[in-house]
Structures are given as C-alpha cells and as structure tokens.
Symmetry: C2
Subunit: 303 residues, 2 copies
C-alpha cells in the first residue's frame, strides 16, 4: 500500500484504469471517486468503480493523502479552487492532464500551504472514454511523466513515483515547458492533423461517407482512430498548449508544402529520400518497445 | 483451382501474401515468380516462395493464364513492355498498384491483342515489405477493387473476381478516376501527411530523437507506422496520382488553417464541434468491420 486513501476526481478512462490498476497492485487502502455528472456516478456505483463514490467533491477529497485530478485540462483550476479548503494537510495533489504549464498556472495558486502539488501525465490512452472504458493494464510499460514545480517536496515526488510504477508505468521527471513541447510533437500536433484529415474526408461531396468508411483499409483508418478521442479533452489540450502546438503546426505546414511541391514538379528523389528517413524513426520506436510490429496490427490473424 | 498457372512479377509483401493465400485456397495449379533482384529471388527460393522462381521475366510469364504485376507503379509500363511478347494468348494481366489511371495508361498500350487487362488494387498492407513479409491472411475481409477498362472481357473479369474472393477479399468494381480520388482521400493524402509529421519530429533539434521515440505513446506512434511504408512504392503513388492527391492536400491545408486559427483565437466551440463530427466517422468504420475497437490496439493486454 502506497497511499492510505486516494481520491479520483473525474471518472473517465484514466481514472477508471487507475482504479483497476490500484486494485491489481494493492496500492491504496481506500479509493474514493467523484464525478460532476450524476449519471457517471451511478455508472461507477453500478460497475464497482471506486470503493466509495461520493456525491460531493469535498467529501471525496476529505482525508485523502493523494488526490488525482482526472478532469479536462480546462476545468482543473475551477476544481482545485472548489476542493482546496477540504484537502488534508500533507496531502499530495496530482493530475493526469496532457498539458503541464497551464495546469500548473491554473491549479497551483489554489492549493493551501502544506499540500504538495506534483503534476503528472501518463502517456496512455485509447480512443474510448468514460467510466466503463478503463482497464488495469492501460499503464503497463507506458511512460508517466512527473513535472517539477518550485518547492516540490522530494518525499511527495518519490511516493507518487512509486505509485505510478505500481500501476505498471515507467516514470520520468521533466520540466513543464519541455513536456509541453515534446507532447506537441508526439501527440498534440498529430491529433490535430488527424482530426483535420478525417474532417476533410467527411466534407468531400464526391466521395460519399460510405466509400470513405468502406475503403479505409490503409492510412486513413489510423487517422480515424486518433480522431475519435474525446472532443472536450482535446479542445482543452489545444487551447492550453497553444504556443507549442502552433509552432509545430507551422513547421509541419512548411514541410508539407515542400513535399507538395516535389509532387507537383515530379521530384521523385526528394520524396524517396524523405520517406526513407521517416522509415528509420519507426524502427527506433519498435526497438524502444513502444509498439508492436505485428503484421496485422492486432487484427487477429494467425500468421 | 481458378488458374492453371499464375505468374507473380515482383516478390514483395503483396505477391508473397498472394502466394501463401493461393496455397491456402488451392487457387492455382502452379505459381511462378520473378523479381529483378537476384537477392530477392534467392530469398524466395530459400523460403519456398513460389513453386518455381524464374531468372527471367519471359520465363516467368510463359504459359501463365494469370500474370500479376506486383512492382512499383512507376515501373509497370516498362515491365509490361518487356513481357508483352511472351504472354500466352488469352492470358489475363492484372496489377496490384495503388493508382489506376496512370497504370492503365502505362501498361495498356503494350499488351497484345487477345490478352485481357483487368487492373486491380487490394486494399491491404502492413508497414513491412519484401518477400519475407507476406502471410496468407493479409487479404481476409479486406477490399479488392477491380477497374473496368474499355473492352474488358466479362469472363476474364469474373474469373479474377473469383480469384480475389478465394484470397479472402471482398471484391468491388469501379471506374479508374473514381478509384484514384477515393484512394487519395483514404490513403494517399493521409500517408503524405504522416510522412510529413514524422519528418518534422525528426528535424526538431530541441526535442531529441530519443525523446520523440521514447514518448510516442499517443498519436505520433500511429503516424510512424504509416510513415514506415515502402519509400519506392509511395514515391510512385504520389507521382502517379498527382492531381487527386494535390487536390485533397489543398482541402486539408484549408481546414488545418481554420483549426489553427481557432486555436490561436481561443475558439473552443469550433474545435469541439469539429472533433465531435470526426468521432462519428470512426464509429462508422468500426461498424463496417474495417478495424477493431480493442482498447489496447492489439498490444496484447488481457483486459
């Protein structure tokens, strides 16, 4: 047991996976949960998500030595303000938001003296959301990034580190701004691009929806998977990691125009060299154990 | 048995999967194979790919009642010219290229009278290439598109249709230009976009390669999978489906700029509405049976 009482605020994919992971690893004495929506709380009670589902934020955080904010980045500040007076002295507050600088700016000022704030970000997810989408293995062999804030208590950081390892993650610590730039490259910009491409396909009058869906075997299918992620979560990510995302998108557009020009002018050498270079990155990811190279992408063939 | 002798020209992922699929379904009496590279022919002989690996194109196609061009789109015309004199009267020639109009323009004029040309395109693939990457199940439940050309022999089309069904595919027939537009949306533009994004990440000095690879859990990982496809194949696709690809990329850029503007101006409603719309398309694809909704993307969790 790493924490005596853990409060999960917001009961979606991440919180529910954390709950099942805590049970698997016996990481917490008691887990309380709170969600703003009564429907979500009812679902949680029905499926046994959390040891105790509370009808108020205050009740959920009371006496907890770890409070995990699992709400969209855009509302974290408001939730922090509302719960601040009810936090136990010496408690650790963390979050699972995909953006760190703006979360620190929004949450930090509300937390009382004696409460430790250790922002976090598990790099794990699926295209599904909601309390019923979680599973204990979500964080296994995935990264969890913890972020240093001025005055971080080393003991509180170490405890949260051990907690995430208990959930199956590999844990690293980094600076908030660096986190936001790395994530803009590896996640935020790719998501916006995927959303855009799926939107374009949807718009295209001459290619009916039916055909786009029917013939989506290659390329587009992976985009639709990305573009099916939770709209509220992603709206908040983009609005709160504006600078880094726009910078990366600017670079992206520049490169895309260069490739479009190569197509238009028939510069096959440029295209071939570019595609050869990008292929090498993929090899690195497979070697780093961050994806499978199964030939059927897990569709269940019996090669 | 649907064909007495099938010649596979070019021995990469598609041809090798076709061979194993033909064996599984007992679709051909004998399968000959030819690849320009002696190394590829040696590999094929070593792993038992094809009943007979031939050292010349002429030998491979001699007496075949089906010849399948599995070479990059850019060399199909040259291969057709070289083999034309050796084709058996009444033989069917098909191809597996991702582009159809330019292939028809390049191959069609070389084929002698009495040989049936039925262009095709199986919508199946993995990120792997080469003779050792094939497996019999690649085409199972995937689409194969056959394309009408003027004067197509209905009997030859029907036979090839049955052949692809024997390989596990669902077969449809469509017009070449429509094919090229549909594929530009569902495959070609998404591939170029993925290549671009992976290239940008690779370029970015401040985010080391190591980090991009290490933290690629979400979004970017799917892009790298797409961007690991065969560079020669894709160079040829873009150069030979120039018009449709550039048209779709133009639309894409327009939409991307609108979303970038929404981020810059903080227009959360625009973003949320857009993301909600794209999510629905994903649901359609899963319902159409073209992808799994496994929560772990086939990474092997035991949910």
């Amino acid at each position: 047991m790493i924490y005596k009482r853990v409060a999960l605020i917001g009961l979606g994919l991440i919180a529910s996976s954390m709950f099942w992971g805590m049970k698997r690893g016996a990481l917490a004495g008691e887990v309380t949960g709170y969600a703003r929506s009564a429907e979500t709380r009812d679902t949680a009670r029905r499926i046994g998500l959390c040891d105790r589902v509370c009808d108020s934020l205050a009740e959920a955080v009371q006496g907890a030595d770890l409070v995990v904010l699992c709400v969209p980045v855009g509302v974290m500040g408001a939730v922090a303000a509302e719960m601040a007076a009810h936090l136990a002295p010496g408690a650790t507050v963390t979050d699972v938001g995909s953006v760190k600088r703006e979360v620190i700016n929004a949450v930090g000022p509300h937390l009382p003296h004696g409460v430790h704030f250790v922002p976090g970000h598990p790099l794990a997810g699926t295209e599904h959301s909601g309390p019923e989408s979680g599973f204990a293995e979500l964080f296994d062999n995935r990264w969890c990034l913890l972020v240093r804030v001025p005055g971080s208590d080393p003991q509180a950081v170490a405890q949260l580190h051990a907690f995430w390892e208990g959930l199956g993650s590999n844990v690293e610590t980094m600076d908030a701004d660096h986190h936001d730039l790395v994530l803009a490259v590896t996640s935020h910009a790719p998501h916006l691009i995927a959303y855009t491409m799926v939107g374009v396909a949807d718009d295209l009058g001459r290619v009916t929806d039916g055909e786009v869906i029917k013939y989506s075997a290659a390329g587009f299918r992976d985009f639709t998977r990305i573009a099916a992620s939770d709209p509220t979560m992603w709206r908040d990510v983009f609005l709160n990691n504006k600078k880094a995302t726009l910078e990366i998108l600017g670079r992206f557009t520049e490169e895309l125009f260069a490739l479009q020009r190569a197509i238009r002018t028939g510069d096959g050498d440029h295209l071939h060299a570019y595609f050869t270079r990008t292929r090498a990155i993929r090899r690195g990811i497979i070697e780093a154990g961050q994806d499978t190279d199964a030939p059927d992408f897990g569709r269940g063939s019996t090669r």
